[in-house]
């Protein structure tokens, strides 16, 4: 069970159900009068063994939330736990080890080290840690993702979809407590995107992993068990067992709702953070000006930056 747990008492995660938890998580950029709140006292629990999507318009703070939960970014106030470990206040070295050993990452693009082949990329976090990968698990992951034939290929020899599958395999390989995927389909065509989402789904259902995915694509969010909607640095809604249509509807409503919402609540700090406040979304721009069109566009899977070739085609052969 996963929820925007505003009503729960802050404290340690209880039992086995919670993979990560945040209480009063606040992230401000800048200081004083010009401070912009990217996250405004967010309380959230990420349920173990489920696929959670975080949605929201550009600048809503969804990537910041992910970065803070993953120990990539520092928080301005509040606490974050990964399992039983409070990660707020950890030193860089401890955070680095935590990311290495307990979290898996998938980014929108530039997920792989170009000098390493697929197999080396997959085992990289464990290699860095000096641990031996669990070969049985690794084989299962590789076979699940259909990468057996591609292991000796360098990233440049793989298509965009294949690259994301390798990234997915890397995230899964060390059997982390939590996998964060930041717009994993953002750079893929719809077919490759669907494939990757299928694998993330499979990771949760078949392999029992916990996945948190940041996206602004309702179609992608529809693959999750639970969608958390973020706006202006707060969790404003959630949706269990979402469908693409429902999410899209919610997003549409949500945009007009935001106006009334803002008017009604009088959010401190005013409007949404600037684009710059959320670096991974900087290029997406156009905050709030044409949300519907933007959602439509991404819903159809044409994000503009289409990766060359489909999932099965190896087109770039440089060596």
């Amino acid at each position: 069970m996963s929820t925007a747990a505003a009503e729960q008492i802050p404290g340690r995660a209880e039992g086995d159900g919670i993979a990560a938890r945040a209480r009063g998580l606040t992230k401000a950029y800048g200081s004083g009068e010009t401070a912009v709140l990217a996250l405004d006292s967010v309380d959230v629990d990420i349920a173990r063994g489920r696929f959670t999507a975080v949605m929201g318009p550009s600048g809503s703070g969804k990537s910041t939330l992910m970065h803070c939960l993953a120990g990539l970014d520092t928080v301005s106030a509040g606490q974050v736990w990964l399992g039983d470990t409070e990660i707020t206040g950890l030193k860089d070295r401890e955070l680095t080890r935590l990311r290495r050993d307990r979290i898996g990452f998938m980014f929108q693009s530039f997920n792989l080290i170009p000098t390493l082949n697929a197999a080396e990329n997959i085992t990289l976090p464990m290699d860095i840690a000096g641990q031996k990968p669990d070969q049985k698990w690794l084989d299962q992951v590789i076979d699940t993702l259909g990468l057996r034939e591609r292991l000796k290929h360098r990233p440049a020899q793989l298509s965009g979809g294949q690259q994301q599958r390798v990234a997915c395999a890397r995230a899964l390989a060390s059997r982390p407590e939590l996998i964060f995927a930041d717009e994993p389909t953002g750079n893929l065509d719809s077919r490759a995107g669907l494939e990757v989402l299928g694998f993330l789904r499979e990771a949760v259902d078949g392999l029992g992993q916990t996945v948190v995915m940041v996206t602004h694509d309702p179609g992608a969010a529809a693959h999750s068990d639970l969608v958390l909607f973020l706006a202006d640095g707060r969790i404003v809604d959630e949706m269990e067992r979402p469908s693409a249509e429902a999410v899209l509807e919610r997003m549409k409503r949500f945009d007009t709702a935001r106006v009334t919402f803002d008017g009604g609540r009088g959010t401190p700090g005013g409007a949404a953070p600037e684009d710059g406040g959320d670096p991974t979304e900087g290029v997406r721009g156009a905050d709030g000006t044409a949300p519907v069109a933007a959602v439509d566009d991404t819903a159809h899977g044409g994000s503009g930056d289409t990766a060359p070739g489909g999932s099965g085609d190896v087109t770039l052969d440089k060596d």
Binding site: D73, R93, R100, T115, P125, I128, G282
Partner: protein, 854 residues
């Protein structure tokens, strides 16, 4: 377009900094050496011009000596009176001045400068041209009074009342310091001792009535040139050399010039290295800047800028960089010159940095070098920039140039390399020194060019081997650093090339010098049979009373004297050759092992006989029995018959032709010469170990003469060769500094390029220390690659140099492996040092910002 260029220049100023530093260094060395030599030349020109007499009459000397003979040529002092009567002469002065008389204080310590500048003992005759004035005490009168110059008195803590011993050629004598003379002009670094004129004549030159030269003052209104004509008319042509003040100053400046030239060439050597290595740095920086700006350049092209404009934009940037670098370099060069002048002052040469001369040539040279080098170095990258297609603006290519094939380089490098290898092979096979030397030069240049061109091709195979153990040793960090070094072979190759050039030079020189040392060792073992060699530093001869006292020392058996003289020989093939000949006492065989092709020592050193190297003889149609006309200094001539031909494997005594004759000949034709070396054997019944302390005791009053046995003699030779090596190491130091700048540059730019990759690595759990280690290892592998390539090339060069030296008799080959291994290890350290800043920068990167980096 100019605006865009300026913007770009300013935007990249951080990245251009290191290139600018390389330019600054090379320009500084060029400017510094020019300013320094201009200043010194001007200072001494003034000194010589102000101290030269209107007309000087000297003994004629056509033969320039390569080695000091110790003989002092004289003119009759009576010429002064004769010339005083010549029309237009206001006054004449007798000069009695020698530079070959060491002066020691009462503790037998030399008062002469330790820098190689002469100790001049001369007669005190104060004229308006004297460079000194009496500042305390009184003028010297009589045989036991002397003045000392103030600088020397200061340095050696001497004053009025102290005694000095002057070891003049006719014999040592003691004098008391009665006054101190202070330089009114620049002190060129010499020590000066003044005696009254009769004392100087008798005790320095052997008898009254002699002079080393006559100074003639012109009467009012008589020009130097006219006076010279009149003096010449009076004296007739032949025995005397008559010079005007201008000519005298010029020849003085020339004799000093040799020393200054050395400094100048050393400085220019540094400038050359700085320029050479700097070029690599600049090429690399511009290449990388352009690779990074491919999209921007593509956009410019898409917006309508044509190729020429793009090229010009890059070249303008280079021009600006060159101008800035040259200006800073010029300033640094002035600083360097001030430093050198200070250094010279510490050596006793009183130059004033306030009188520094910056001729117009200096800024011109500075800007030509600085701007020219930058422009040339940026030309290729500029062409590449112009070739960027407008499509580049649209594509998402990572870095241009990574995947471009190296085929052209392979072909050009292969061809040039083959030509270079052929030249080196030809050099090794050649039997003529001149051919071998020119083939060597050609081969060195060609192989260097080939290695620079083909460097990127060697990156993959060599670094695969060098970094092969990295994955096993350092895990994924090692694997990534090795692959990063392989990532852009062009860049790795160019970066390593800077280090390679310097180390190739060092490798070659160290092999050559080690081979020379070994050859000399072998030769000393083979030829030196004496128990001891008594010698001055730098072959400067010593007074013959040393010889007498050594002979009189208890336990001394045989003493064989060695003396040198300049000679000119007329050879049967019609050539006249000026060289230096050596003379020995007859029992040479007891102190040296000489191999003769024809004849023996008795035939070589007999009266009226001469011997020479067999190869030289063959080259000039000389046979045993040939009669050779020989000219000695001061116009003495004779004919000598070839009695023997030596075969020392070309080694001989280091003089051309290896001319040798008996001691009687040199005493007859070069009277007043001094011995350059004594070969001493212990008397029967006395062991050399016992003799040594006795000899040392005998030589106590002559601190400049040293006793050396075979081992000492070898050490002396090694030390002399080591001086050459120190210079090479200094050059290496500079080359390394600049090469480090290059590695820093490359790594810094690579770190920027790989920002996202670094962000990703950090996100998935690479620690800061691991990241720093990754960059350090990459740096080490690049540096060691450069070192290995350079040393390999250098060893090949060194072996070829040895082949050339072998023709001169230095047949031993030695490769100093310890030095080579030390240099490789050193290069790894260089890599670590170079990686410090880039690694720190990478590890400080904000993970999120790095991931989001475009």
């Amino acid at each position: 377009m100019l605006k865009a260029t300026l913007r770009s220049f300013l935007a990249h100023k951080g990245r251009l900094l290191l290139s600018a530093l390389a330019i600054v260094l090379s320009v500084a060395f060029v400017a510094g050496s020019l300013i320094f030599s201009d200043t010194v030349t001007r200072t001494f020109d003034r000194l010589f011009a102000s101290t030269a007499a209107d007309v000087t009459v000297e003994p004629k000397n056509d033969l320039k000596s390569q080695l000091p003979t110790g003989a002092t040529e004289t003119v009759p002092a009576s010429l002064a009176d004769r010339l005083a009567k010549v029309d237009g002469v206001a006054a004449t002065h007798v000069d009695a001045s020698v530079e070959n008389a060491p002066v020691v204080d009462s503790a037998n310590k030399s008062v002469g400068p330790t820098t190689g500048a002469p100790t001049i003992v001369t007669n005190w005759e104060l004229t308006e041209r004297s460079p000194v004035k009496l500042t305390s005490g009184h003028e010297p009168h009589g045989g036991d009074e002397a003045l000392l110059d103030a600088d020397t008195a200061d340095k050696k803590h001497l004053g009025i009342g102290d005694t000095l011993t002057v070891q003049a050629q006719p014999g040592s004598f003691r004098v008391r310091i009665v006054g101190i003379a202070t330089f009114t002009t620049t002190n060129p670094g010499a020590a000066l001792v003044f005696l009254d004129t009769p004392t100087a004549q008798t005790k320095l030159l052997g008898r009254p009535g002699l002079a080393t030269s006559i100074s003639v003052d012109a009467a009012k209104g008589v020009g130097d040139a006219r006076l010279k004509q009149r003096v010449q008319a009076e004296l007739g042509t032949g025995a005397y050399e008559v010079k005007t003040a201008e000519e005298q100053a010029k020849s003085s400046a020339e004799s000093l010039g040799g020393f200054l030239d050395v400094i100048k060439y050393v400085m220019l050597g540094f400038a050359g290295i700085a320029v050479l290595v700097g070029i690599f740095l600049i090429v690399n920086t511009f290449s990388m800047l352009i690779a990074q700006r491919t999209r921007e350049l593509g956009l410019l092209r898409a917006l309508g800028a044509d190729r020429r404009q793009v090229r010009r934009s890059v070249l303008t940037e280079a021009l600006l960089l060159g101008l800035v670098g040259s200006t800073l370099g010029l300033a640094a060069g002035i600083g360097l010159a001030v430093g050198l002048i200070k250094l010279m002052t510490a050596f006793g040469m009183n130059l004033k940095s306030t009188e520094m001369v910056i001729g117009w040539g200096t800024p011109v040279a500075a800007y030509v070098v600085g701007v020219g080098v930058t422009y040339v170095a940026a030309y290729l990258p500029a062409r590449r920039a112009a070739a960027v297609s407008p499509m580049a603006a649209l594509s998402d290519a990572e870095v241009a140039g990574v995947g471009r094939p190296l085929r052209v380089r392979a072909v050009v490098g292969g061809v040039v390399g083959a030509a270079g290898a052929a030249a080196l092979a030809g050099c090794a096979a050649s039997t003529k020194t001149s051919t071998a030397a020119s083939l060597l030069g050609l081969g060195v240049v060609l192989t260097l060019i080939a290695t620079v061109i083909a460097g990127p091709l060697l990156v993959r195979p060599v670094i695969r081997v060098l970094g092969g153990a990295f994955p096993a040793l350092f895990g994924p960090v090692g694997r990534m650093s090795q692959r990063n070094a392989l990532r852009n072979p062009r860049r790795t190759g160019a970066t390593a090339a800077a280090l390679m050039v310097g180390l190739a030079l060092v490798g070659g020189m160290s092999v050559a010098s080690a081979s020379m040392s070994k050859s000399f060792d072998q030769q000393i073992d083979k030829t030196l049979g004496a128990d001891f060699v008594l010698q001055n530093a730098n072959f400067v001869p010593f007074s013959h009373e040393v010889t007498e006292k050594v002979r009189a020392t208890e336990g001394v058996g045989l003493v064989v004297r060695q003396r040198f003289t300049p000679v000119a020989v007329k050879l049967p093939d019609g050539k006249r050759m000026e060289t230096t000949a050596a003379a020995y006492d007859p029992k040479l065989d007891d102190v040296a092992h000489i191999t003769y092709a024809r004849g023996d020592t008795a035939a070589a050193l007999g009266e009226g006989r001469i011997a020479m190297d067999v190869k030289f003889a063959d080259d000039h149609d000389v046979r045993v029995g040939s009669t050779i006309p020989v000219e000695f200094p001061a116009g003495r001539t004779t004919e000598l018959t070839v009695g023997a031909l030596t075969d020392q494997g070309g080694g001989g005594f280091g003089t051309q032709g290896g001319l040798v004759f008996g001691f009687g000949t040199i005493e007859k034709y070069v009277p007043g010469g001094q011995d350059s070396a004594l070969y001493v054997n212990a008397a029967p019944g006395t062991s050399p170990e016992k003799l040594r302390p006795r000899l040392e005791k005998t030589l106590e009053p002559y601190p400049q003469v040293q006793v050396r046995d075979q081992a000492d003699y070898k050490k002396l030779v090694h030390d002399q060769i080591a001086v050459l090596l120190y210079l090479v190491y200094a050059l290496l130091g500079l080359a390394i500094v600049i090469a480090v700048l290059g590695v820093v540059n490359t790594l810094a730019l690579s770190v920027v390029e790989r920002t996202r990759e670094i962000g990703l690595l950090r996100a998935i759990g690479l620690g800061r220390r691991q990241l720093r280690r990754m960059i350090r290892l990459e740096s080490v592998v690049i540096a060691v690659f450069g070192a290995v390539l350079g040393l390999a090339l250098g060893i090949v060069w060194g072996v070829c140099v040895q082949q050339v030296l072998a023709l001169q008799g230095m047949k031993a080959l030695a490769v100093p492996w310890t030095t080579i291994v030390a240099v490789v290890i050193g290069s790894a350290v260089v890599g670590i040092v170079a990686a410090l800043l880039p690694a720190l920068r990478a590890s400080r990167m904000n993970v999120l910002a790095a991931i989001a980096h475009e």
